[in-house]
Amino acid sequence: MKTLDTRGLLCPKPLIMLKEALQEMDAGDALRVETDNDTSLKNLLTYLKDQGIEPEVSSAGAVHTLLLTAPEKDLSASNPAAYCSSDLPRDYVVCIKREVMGDGDPELGKVLLETFVENLKLQEQLPSHVVLYNGGVKLAMKSSPLCSSLVELEELGTRIMLCGTCVDHYGIQLDIGVGMISNMVVLTETLASAGHVVTP
């Protein structure tokens, strides 16, 4: 196993060394990193977490040791242009315009919509945006049973967008628990530029 000894080195040296090492490693290779600086340890962990890497951390005295496995190389992370590459699946936007899913019994409609949003976050490809308008904005209220699922989606990087006119119309601005309050210009732009739009 390769070992990076960063003892005695101050931020950002350890991170520079870690990035170099990760670039040279193949997926699945193990790496051991040693540091004796608490700030460096914290910053290394923040960086790794943001890359989706969960190292094993152990400490002996002042020396901390991180054990980690190199992940699959994600070229898009180091090359912004790769995001635009045409062989990636096109982004999609979920557009919710009511508090219910489908016509018929509104109680059933509420349950269906709740289940739909819960399932959204389990999709292999997450929507780039969830657009809520008209009655749909009420789903983003703190009291809504869907609020926590929408927060989870937001944490995963999906942008939740609310129609500002609708939020004002229902007078619920102070009760909104998730999402960016937006206007029709931005919503139109988002829907028009989406790869495709899913409307439950």
């Binding site: 950002p12 991170l15 520079i16 960086y47 992370a77 998730v178 960016m180």
Partner: protein, 348 residues
Amino acid sequence: MKEKFDLLSTIEYGGCSAKLPAGLLSEVLGKLPLVKDPRLLVDLETHDDAGVYKLNEETALIFTTDFFPPICSDAYEFGEISAANALSDIYAMGGTPLMALNLMMFSQERIPLDVFGQILEGGQAKVREAGALVAGGHTIDDHPPKYGLAVVGTVHPDHLITNAGARPNDVLLLTKAIGTGALVSGQKNGLCSEGDYRLALEQMKQLNRHASALAVKYHVRGMTDITGFALAGHAMKMAEASRVSFRIHSLQVPLLPGAYQVFEKGSIPGATFRNLEFTGEQAHFARSVDYNIKMLLHDAQTSGGLLLAVNPDHAASLLSDLNRLDPEISAMEIGEVIPESPRRLYFE
């Protein structure tokens, strides 16, 4: 000829990245009794750039200070940058600087005395460029050295521009590129070109004078300058004070050449991580935002640009006026003000 003294040899980190973490600062300041007085137009509460005291109906006094350890090797340049940074707080309120006092911490046992003089000369030249006067100062023995100024300026009370004046639908303009922290770190670790580093130094020396005058001309109500808490941290404080949220298009944020490459190589200063912690859940990043860009948005700036919230009808004129007056810096429209939402910042 004697060898030129390298100021950077005295320190581990410099510039505004030497600031206390913002969260820690709020914790301490929050415990102090808040001074309220009708004559204080701007106080600590909105985390503004300076204190503002109303003298009469026509004039308010702006008072500010800033100082830090060396950000570059050359003493004269350090003086210039530190002065430009201190003066910036006056400009960020829409004011005109009048007078400054030097604040210096310097150990004559550790550093040649002519370095002391060169720092002051650089500072004085910058203050003169701003049309203000250096009227003295104070020095104490300390190492590593620190230099900055306390500055007073004035503003018409009706034209005062604060953190709290941004309104939904305003357009956000940033008047300087970001990445000074990255390039200083890159230069220290041999990860950027001399040319890119020079460009960062030149930008740090640039006064925010023209941008400030144009903000007044175009009736801008909300403005701040970007320094140690990074674009993201200062934008968050401004959105909070204005009780709005900001939507920022990260690909439109101007970057100093070479800054991205420095972060790509992992040379990310500790201040960046502290700022990231400070904005925390208040900042949301769309999945498409590149990791290094996200970190650059949290890169501590020294003598950074102004962030203006301007009426959309005036944004284009202001921007073109500014690019004519300051052609060497790259002002850009970077986003818009949106109604107060659960988070303060939304980065696309």
